[in-house]
Symmetry: D2
Subunit: 340 residues, 4 copies
């Protein structure tokens, strides 16, 4: 961490800043320039609150040299994290397809979709039982009954289950769920993240609509710092001024995250665009950019889906997408990322 002092800093203030930093077990390396004094701070600066440094009147600016996350940081953990999922895994050399409906609606619906996406090559089934909805008047999900149907679909197809948890109080219902999803709107629900740090299953952490890449990693760090290092990151679009798509899918985040972290990164083209016919081009683009997988909304009857039908593709379209991916995979996969 570099602290740039204002010209002619008050010496009492400076002593106070120095003593505060030493109290955090940090070493200080002063360097006196002609126009300004620079303090180089050495040690575990992840514990320093940058806002607190800025409040010292004598401080002109502060700059982190180290990232504020440790466990998620590739510098301290160069190898890709690989997370087991059913018969396969996420991260490393794998490319993982997770597919299923926005929400579980009935036994018939979820079983039919589960069979279809399995036949088309999906490695896991997604489906919402507890649904975060902007309107209190919209369908809120089948809750426990939905979880039961997902587990039945797993029994019939062998596909591991990915589903969203909105409230730590509902954790008992998730005992048999394979991957617990944190939705974009809860990415900084720190109470929830802490609880998920105590869980022994992988967490799929979606990027918030206004979250920077660093904040996404800090949320992963929350889960990891509380004991659970199995975190799968998910880019699902950020909020911008553009209205042609629901959100703006930030595929640049893939190579940026590949540099900064060892955690796997998958992409959700369905929520990013909100439009079924853009799912295919952006899925292939995500693969080409170096993503570790996709989570795609598939519905057997999009026109009558209880939510997000407009962004759901049919099982047939998913099968075609899966074929295109299989054809591209040997040539394209992780081709994009220069060797470290």
């Amino acid at each position: 961490m570099i602290i740039i002092l204002k010209p002619n800093p008050d010496q009492t203030e400076l002593a106070s800043l120095e003593s505060w930093l030493r109290g955090l077990d940090l070493d200080i390396h002063m360097s006196q320039g002609q126009t300004s004094t620079i303090m180089g701070i050495v040690g575990d600066t992840t514990v320093v609150d940058i806002g607190q440094v800025r409040m010292f009147d004598i401080v002109d600016d502060v700059k982190r040299v180290q990232e504020p996350y440790k466990k998620a940081n590739r510098k301290f953990h160069p190898k890709d994290t690989v997370i087991p999922l059913g018969a396969g895994s996420v991260g490393g050399d794998s490319f993982t397809l997770i597919a299923g409906p926005c929400s579980v609606e009935s036994e018939d619906q979820i079983l039919e979709i589960a069979r279809d996406v399995k036949a088309a090559g999906a490695q896991a089934l997604r489906g919402g039982a507890y649904k975060p909805r902007t309107s209190p008047y919209a369908f809120q999900g089948m809750r426990e009954a939905g979880i039961a149907l997902l587990l039945e679909a797993r029994e019939q197809t062998g596909l591991p289950i990915v589903t969203e948890l909105m409230d730590a109080a509902d954790l008992p219902a998730f005992t048999d769920i394979d991957v617990i999803q944190v939705g974009a709107r809860n990415m900084q629900n720190f109470a929830l993240l802490k609880e998920l740090g105590k869980v022994d299953r992988p967490i799929l952490l979606k990027r918030g609509l206004a979250a920077t890449i660093e904040e996404l990693l800090m949320s992963a760090e929350y889960i990891m710092a509380h004991g659970n290092e199995q975190v799968i990151l998910c880019e699902r679009g950020i909020r911008t001024f553009e209205v042609a798509t629901r959100n703006t899918l930030d595929l640049s985040a893939i190579p940026v995250l590949k540099e900064l972290t060892h955690l796997p990164i998958i992409v959700d083209p369905s929520h990013a665009t909100g439009v079924a016919r853009y799912v295919r081009p952006l899925s292939l683009a995500a693969l080409a950019a170096g993503a570790d997988g996709l989570i795609v909304e598939v519905h057997n009857d999009p026109a009558h889906a209880k939510c997000d039908g407009a962004q759901s593709i049919t099982p047939a379209a998913f099968a075609e997408l899966s074929d295109a991916i299989a054809e591209m995979l040997p040539i394209v996969h992780k081709n994009a990322i220069p060797p470290r």
Copy 2:
């Protein structure tokens, strides 16, 4: 709600759409133009999921004429909601000053600040006991002990207490708290909003960093639909590309919200800018724009605050701000808003 159909819609699809709409207790008014057919949907369209309409292949576009919120809607509740707070109230003709530190740090700290802000004219004390922090390594608040100190400050000063709840599981500790705050990062934590709908105290609901004004109102609607109509809205800056301030304070939201809703709206200039010396100009601007009050961070020793010192003003600066507000109030207050 207006549904615009594509040219020559498939008649089976159309019948299916009509029957679905009628199943929601809505009336349909068809109007056949030369190039397109328009369906006018009459009834309580707040129950309609607009995404679901869009999935019908024959639908070209959908437009709400009615807002998707009811209880928060000024159309159905023209008079300002006025919420009691201590000896005074929020909303209507009042202008309310809420002040205090980012977080409760010690008995001395909170008592001293409480006395100072009361002397300077604050009507309520804010202070964080449960702190949402981006980093798992940053100070997370004094929790129950912090709540106890806030209640002690209330006993000594008579100031009602405003403090943030992050997890419904902590509600028992908030039994004596006057106003429960929902932070920006939890604005769409729907599980939390539902629980707060069952509480009998006012909720201070902060706008999310990427939340539209309509989404803020939908989150208020969640609380209201679950039984608690005492919601105070708070504009605290949105995330944009500008980096000179931490967030961009959206003061246009004040007149927009005054039109759309009867709920009171206050402004947080401290979190919006992140810079203590911008608090005063933006506080006065909020007053001039028609806000119902302010929530301001005040710390007796900003340079050693455990969080957000850079945006905290001193008690002396707060007293000066309070004086400036008192002087402007008779001329400026709600002067901005044209009579309805």
Copy 3:
């Protein structure tokens, strides 16, 4: 165009609105619902200024059914526009690689880079002679001398030249330039667009940092409406809150634009990210998403480039990228876009 009237519209105002619309050669189809009246407007509504409709007091809302652009609209021109470029072309079945330095710096520099990118498979040479720089103190380009060097590079390599024009007054210097580029900051410099409508060479139109996809098409429409239908669109990143990359590359724009327009769309991964090592993954992603080509910054000595060295790749890295594209092309190309 759909105009939704407020309940019980004033009849004099309504007559005035109707007469204004008829004066624009439009037909009106009234449809009386229970709660609101809807006017369906039929005819060439591209001439209607939507802001003007909104000012009528009786108007509640206005919605375009038709897009406000005609010549750029795929509805009226379903086939892909294919634009000749040197021995090849842009659009349709082609994938075009344009490469070269941010700015022309010397004869040696531009000739060496031109030979290198040609050898690596580039179909055109880019290079800035007139440079838009944020600072008046930064290098502003070699101007006429730069144009001369670019033309010399064309003579030696046969590569057609793409270079930016900032001011219509400089057009005489561009007489022999093959493709004239409009930079992102000039996308809505309407005076310049009009002049380029009178030019007989292709225009490469870059999307503005805060321009919607519709505004990009409206700027293309300016050029086309003034007589020049050879417009190549270029996605080069939009401005968002994310700071890990200079801009956020919006690859969703590719399939959206492919639907809306017949004009070719290329991608500039260099300006979008500002980081050389992200150029490769995003180039491959652009190809997979269905782009018609790339414009990439290549410099023989990035560390000493006079501008944008941080985002320039070396000729060797460009050759590797070109090979990866060649390998992917037969499988991936325009695979993403479902048949219309």
Copy 4:
């Protein structure tokens, strides 16, 4: 400027960086820490292209300590710039009201509005003769004829004229215009800015839709560096995700700009919101935040304005706003800004 080097920098590269910096007449102050080496760069660093520094492989990061603008910088010019305008002035202790229609439409229209806004207290008349319009099919302004009508309005009312120039080629028509406006879309039209640097009249420079405050100041610096130091800055809303208003008015920019620059700053609430009924609250808020004036759209018949009628207020509403400002002024004005 602070340059942070990567650990163990290559010595040849380092020598190359040092020699390049010395070639720019800069002094280097090396400081060797335990984990990293920091170079403090002393001298006129406004000439350094920060991108160029970053390209050196050995550079980890670069930070400006000095702002990249000089002439616009309050550090080097502490006193407020005051710009004469008609009988009065802009900046310093003044609060300036500029008002008039979006575009000049006819002699009757502009003369009537000019008389009305003068009677209501405006110090200058605005009106568009050359109009930047998103659509090539929309009304493009009366051009020379519009300028002539504006000058006639000046003759009749004595009000100085503010009008927009889109193309330096049209400068001859602006010889008698008092203040030349640069529109938001041309804020980084550097060719235009350079030409305006040679003009002897004040320039009203509007902030671009996606321009940071620093970029706005760099554009002012362009004009000033080319010889014209009479620049009035104008905040007119930035583009964000919020759709309730056309743009998001960034009033925080007022105190930020007051710190950074000595140039006057006015606010355009009409373009910022796009809604006439929000003009009053945001005008009063701008005054309270410390702005030096307002530029407001006023039309005698908004419902039939040729552009932007929806955001234009009537002369009567302007007179009421002017009265409210006059009443607030003695108490509020520049009250917000703490003494430097």
